[in-house]
Symmetry: C2
Subunit: 247 residues, 2 copies
């Protein structure tokens, strides 16, 4: 797998997502944020609270993408094994981090329990990343190699990502859409020719059974805005009267 | 990875899910259906419309789970590469299936376009599965080894799964929940002891920041109802006054 620039994978950790007890909010949020930042999300994986399974995914995704964002498994209870799994993935030991421990003691004071300190036990060599607005803005994010470890609670996930979001940027992704009154079987050959003529443009074709005035939505995405516009123009020209509208 | 009985993986295929253009409905539906059927979903993966990436996931998931359900990528356009990817995963050629072709011609009649027949090009050796109510109930599902290939359009996905759902059954999963007024740091040691005493019960701990009358929801799941109830009783006894309620 090539590790292309401005690509990301999202790793959601938690039995509750696989059993349907909880619906994911974090990947849903992150795909929009990353797309807006010009980062292509190439994979989402949802795995259970099992150290070896998480470690295998971390290793594989870390090798395949520029950034990996994990969600969940960082609390103080028995089912929180993400930090240990990331350590295992990169064959590093776990050790208590003095900066995190001091921060927890300062922030929680009397409310801190011995067991909470387990959240300060992180892979040796991990970085603590505060983001461009510095330590006052938020609790730091633990980063190991290219793996950014975020918590599963959606409100905290967002807060932490907001503190670091400027660190992830790619060239803007331009998107257009064309709506066709003809079904996929009729327009497929036309699509093929546009796909072949514009190799830098990602073209997707999506039938919508319940749409009132069209049958297929075609999307055209790319980092080269002129190529995207040219491909859109070519497609609209080729489809002719089948085009209901363009966005 | 052990291939345990009554386990499943869900493979969602489509750039539109990774770019946030479309929100997944199929995995969300399927995790509930499978849980109700006693099947443990052990993995969800979302991959782009890329043959080699899909094939790698199919191979890995097929080896790790009793059943794999794929969603998407089965239409007639250039971005529909699931059938070819599954063929590649199992090193099989693709060939036009006579039964599917006949079915398409009969069903669509004049509305069938040459290009639509690509949907009848499936891996050699694939089975066509109609489900227990037979051919009249629905269009068949293409099955290759333990991989069940379903379409991405949610309405059709559900209809096809409904036709075959009785084929996937495991021993019922029993679930209980306990709500704690104390935070995770306080109850973590207690949880550990219950986890250790009841190895067949999966125990999850979920902090809820915005809940009004509790801090943590603890879930207890297992196929042995008596063990689940005994673990719940032990937990409630150990947590004492921290217990807000039990479900």
């Amino acid at each position: 797998m090539d590790k292309k620039t401005a690509t990301a994978a999202i790793l959601l950790i938690g039995d509750e997502l696989l059993s349907g007890k909880v619906e994911d909010e974090n990947a849903r949020y992150l795909v929009h944020e990353l797309r807006r930042a010009g980062v292509t999300v190439g994979r989402i994986e949802v795995v259970p609270d099992q150290l070896d399974v998480i470690a295998e995914s971390v290793r594989r995704l870390s090798a395949g993408f520029e950034w990996v964002f994990s969600s969940g498994g960082v609390g103080p209870t028995h089912d929180d094994v993400t930090l240990a799994a990331v350590a295992a993935a990169f064959e590093r030991p776990i050790a208590r981090n003095a900066e995190l421990e001091a921060l927890m003691r300062r922030t929680w004071g009397e409310g801190l329990h011995q067991r909470d300190l387990r959240m300060a036990d992180i892979p040796v060599g991990a970085r603590l990343e505060h983001g461009p607005r510095g330590p006052s803005a938020s609790w730091p994010v633990v980063v190991v190699n290219n793996v950014w470890i975020l918590p599963g609670v959606p409100k905290i996930f967002r807060k932490k990502f907001e503190a670091i979001r400027e660190l992830f940027q790619g060239p803007a992704i331009h998107g257009r859409a064309v709506y066709s009154a003809e079904p996929e079987g009729v327009i497929a050959d036309t699509l093929d020719s546009v796909v072949a003529a514009f190799p830098t443009v990602a073209i997707g074709s999506y039938p919508h059974l319940d749409a009132l005035d069209y049958r297929v939505k075609i999307t055209l995405d790319g980092r080269d805005a002129r190529a995207v516009d040219a491909a859109t123009a070519r497609l609209v020209g080729s489809l002719g009267e089948a085009v209901v509208r363009t966005e």
